[in-house]
């Protein structure tokens, strides 16, 4: 068995619902020259990509590329088309995301791409830290690709994105919510440290009824790879008591960490109705007339 086949089967052996959404660092290394693949780095830290990246990788920056500058919202169809054309991606290109912080921002970019239905998308398991630890090449050369003629669909927020009124209805219906922030954010303890800056919300706590499953629990801390299907099922189905048929809303502070959990539940565990509430605590913790729990 060749090494690439071994990697594919290793990921397949982990018991995920959709193992094809993950690729290994080896797989990426062997596809650096593949014109049907576009490797995309997406980071929390804006200095990382320019300090060195996978050869041939383009950068998609959450703030500059995916957000509307004036409205708290994502880019629209025309903006997405312009982005895809600029990075030379066609409807047939498979995009492979990777990034810092255990692929937290990579999964965020992946999630935004799904709002526009670009289904040919994968995540490099382990992200940037695994690539670096394996001593693989990084370059400061910024690649340039011929512009494409990408035609995007209108953004569809219905299936995988939740808004505040829907969250209120959801909690009143006692449907499951998952808070993926740290335990101290969940309990509201972090907002109550005198003299120190707060978390951007007037009140600390969580949305009533939300289970606490910090996002990084889905990751093996040593190499940044995702835990196995069995481990993830134990975490979400046994501990947090949610199951694949449930209608689930996930949230964090601004919706970025929860896109990671959205990715895990949707793609690795096969949940079919998970929505990310990107307003998250910075909206809910400041909203007039909604309940919180501590």
């Amino acid at each position: 068995m060749g090494r690439k086949e071994a990697d594919v089967s290793e990921i397949e052996s982990r018991g995920y619902a959709r193992p094809e959404v993950l690729v290994s660092t080896d797989w990426v290394a062997s596809h650096l020259q593949d014109s049907s693949i576009r490797i995309i780095e997406s980071n929390e830290d804006p200095l990382l990509y320019p300090s060195g990246h996978i050869p041939g990788a383009v950068e998609v920056d959450w703030t500059r590329d995916l957000n509307d500058p004036l409205r708290r919202d994502y880019l629209g169809r025309e903006g997405f088309e312009a982005l895809m054309r600029r990075i030379g991606v066609t409807q047939d290109t498979t995009v492979v995301f990777y990034g810092d912080r255990n692929n937290w921002w990579a999964t965020y970019a992946y999630w935004v791409f799904q709002l526009f239905g670009h289904a040919k998308a994968k995540i490099m398991d382990g992200g940037r830290i695994k690539w670096e630890k394996e001593g693989r090449p990084l370059t400061r050369d910024v690649p340039s690709y011929p512009a494409s003629q990408y035609r995007a669909s209108e953004r569809d927020d219905k299936k995988i994105r939740a808004f505040r009124d829907q969250v209120l209805e959801h909690l009143e219906a006692k449907k499951p919510l998952v808070d993926v922030r740290s335990p101290d954010e969940y309990t509201g303890k972090k907002l109550h440290m005198p003299e120190y800056p707060n978390e951007g919300a007037l009140r600390g706590g969580h949305i009533p009824g939300a289970a606490s499953v910090p996002w990084a629990k889905a990751i093996n801390p040593d190499d940044g790879t995702f835990k196995t299907g069995a481990e993830l099922r134990s975490l979400y189905e046994n501990d947090a008591k949610i199951k694949p048929g449930d209608d689930v809303i996930v949230y964090c502070r601004i919706g970025e960490r929860s896109s990671h959990t959205w990715f895990v539940l949707t793609n690795l565990l096969g949940f079919d109705k998970v929505r990310n509430y990107d307003g998250s605590w910075t909206e809910w913790g400041n909203l007039v007339g909604v309940p919180i729990e501590r």
Binding site: L47, T63, R101, R128, P197, E199, I254
Partner: protein
Amino acid sequence: MAAPEKLTDTLETLEMVPDRNERIQLLIDLAGRFEEVPQRIARRPFGEEHRVPACESEAFVFTEERPDGTLDFHFAVENPQGISAKAMAVILGDSLSGAPLDQVAQVPQDVVYRVFGRELSMGKSMGLMGMVGMVSAMAKKRAGRKGV
């Protein structure tokens, strides 16, 4: 209240580099100068009271008093890829150590935008502002004890 002189100089130097890519290279170079808090001041595990709230790069701030009563600021950044946090630590350490405490206590958190520009994610800007806020809070606390 005047801003600390060295901080003003640093910000003016950065603002003389309007090209985003050039400024990023400058900040990457600054991050390369980062030196972790000396072990004589702090060792792992660092106390939670030193942890910067909202900083996902797990930054910690420490102080050391100078004979004149001002403070040296030292940092630890646990995320090995936290380059922005390291660059910010170098800027804050270089430009606020030894500055009058009442001036440090008044440094506005939005200096972060003067360093990195406006194109920061909400979470990233909150983390970096948390570093500034933590330094200011420590200066304020020390100044309060000294009756400044």
